[in-house]
């Protein structure tokens, strides 16, 4: 294969960006990482994602692909031979997409509520957050990964949130491991892979970032 021109516009704490980093790493694709300042978005970002103006943006041979789930599927389509992320069977693919979509619908917003709210609202968010993680534990079952014996689509979609767990726990005053030990075991298993550990920032750094955001937004 000739030299592929791959650029990723990203923001280091973004779990959505982390998904793309992991997928590219799994496929061993070299790319240029460009850090965006979200308070001062680059002309390139605004040009490549005019509709949403958000990161991550994957630019492949000059053409933009937006939205992290779509990017992960695109990466899997373009480089199918190394570390396939989605199964080949249509029903298994539908199941994987269902759970990827579930993570997208639930985890980010609930996690955000956990660190931005207090009192009853926070308790409700924590409860629902844990319920969602338990559902995911059920889907994982006895498999090493959601993808079976290897990292798959759902693993890539979910594991970035692991880097935010410490921040959620500190802000919410609860232990995710106590409630969902299987999921934490799974996350640690994923972190043994370079493609994951090199794509996720340190949990302490994320917690510092959250504390900074709380200050900036005047959240207690």
């Amino acid at each position: 294969m000739g030299d592929e021109d791959v650029v990723l516009l990203d923001f280091w704490p973004s779990p959505f960006g982390m998904r793309v980093r992991i997928a590219l790493a799994e496929k061993e694709i070299k790319y240029e990482y460009k850090e965006e300042d979200l308070r001062n978005k680059s002309d390139l970002l605004l040009k490549m994602n005019p509709i949403h103006k958000k990161i991550p943006v994957l630019i492949h041979n000059g053409k933009p692909v937006c939205e992290s789930l779509i990017q992960v599927q695109y990466i899997d389509d373009i480089w199918p031979h190394k570390s396939p992320l989605l199964p080949t069977d249509p029903y298994q693919r539908a199941i994987a997409k269902f759970w990827g979509d579930f993570v997208d619908k639930k985890i980010y917003d609930l996690g955000r509520k956990v660190w931005t709210t207090k009192g009853e609202e926070q308790e409700a968010a924590k409860k629902e957050f844990i319920e969602c993680l338990k559902l995911l534990e059920g889907e994982l079952g006895n498999k090493a990964y959601f993808g079976g014996e290897n990292l798959g689509y759902v693993d890539v979609v979910l594991v970035p949130f692991y880097s935010w767990f410490y921040a959620y726990e500190k802000c919410g005053n609860f232990s995710i491991e106590t409630e969902c030990p299987k999921l934490i075991a799974w996350a640690k298993r994923c972190m043994e892979k370079d493609s994951v550990s090199k794509s996720l920032p340190d949990q302490d750094k994320i917690y510092d970032f959250v504390l900074h955001l709380k200050k900036v937004f005047g959240i207690e």
Partner: protein, 234 residues
């Protein structure tokens, strides 16, 4: 060949269910239609097939339930490949573009449309209307990009984005009438107006579209129900 092991759990008014039926019709797949009596009651089959969301549509193929309308449409496209046209493009980049615009309809356009339907105050409705109209203009642009001069977002044939957006046309008409505005207007979105006619007249679509009058009636009742549920209790 007739499929006797395909079932759709749905409701006649749901645009999401409509997506599934259109996709099945496009592929000439016979299916058993199971009408749920939502929200009054949910069948055991629905609760068993979609325990996570307990919503329609659900496609049951053999013993396998598939949930979430756009995921179901992709599944249908991947399983029934003998049909002349595929719903998603074969090129990976074009596929990503189709998914992007379907996601736009799902995550941005539909919620604005819904807010317009259930908007409680004049202010809410005004804001929602502005969002919906802006959305149609954005989609007009997308149509120009994706259709490449042909009749559908998918080109010569109905594709993924056509199904995602086209399934909303009945509701777009109903909600527009309610607001006394044409949401897809000749002035702002001439290509979409033409596309809407082509889509609605298509072989695979025209027989599954719900009647607009029935939908309008249903819409009024739905709006009343939702507003009642949201109203603060005295």
């Amino acid at each position: 060949m007739a499929e006797s092991n395909v079932m759709v759990l749905g409701t006649w008014a749901s645009p999401f269910v409509l997506r599934v039926k259109i996709a099945l019709h496009l592929k000439s797949v016979n299916y058993e239609n199971h009408e749920e009596n939502l929200p009054e009651s949910k069948s055991d089959l629905l609760l068993k097939s979609n325990p996570v969301y307990k919503k329609v549509p659900v496609l049951i193929h053999g013993h396998n339930p598939i949930c979430e309308s756009l995921i179901i449409v992709e599944y249908i496209d991947e399983v029934w490949t003998t049909s002349a046209s595929s719903i998603l493009p074969s090129d990976a980049y074009e596929r990503a573009q189709s998914r992007f615009w379907a996601a736009y309809v799902e995550d941005k356009f539909f919620p604005a449309l819904r807010r317009l339907l259930i908007g409680a105050t004049e202010e809410d409705k005004k804001a929602a209307l502005a969002e919906v109209v802006e959305g149609t203009v954005v989609l007009e642009g997308a149509f120009g990009e994706l259709s490449k001069g042909k009749a559908f977002f998918g080109g010569d044939n109905i594709g993924f984005v056509d199904i995602a957006l086209g399934s909303l046309l009945g509701w777009i008409e109903v909600i527009g009438k309610q607001c006394e505005t044409k949401l897809v207007s000749e002035a702002k979105t001439p290509r979409l107006v033409q596309w809407a006619d082509c889509f609605s007249a298509h072989e695979a679509v025209k027989d599954v579209l719900p009647e607009v009058d029935k939908l309008a009636d249903f819409g009024l009742k739905l709006r009343a129900k939702i507003l009642k549920a949201l109203a603060p209790t005295n």
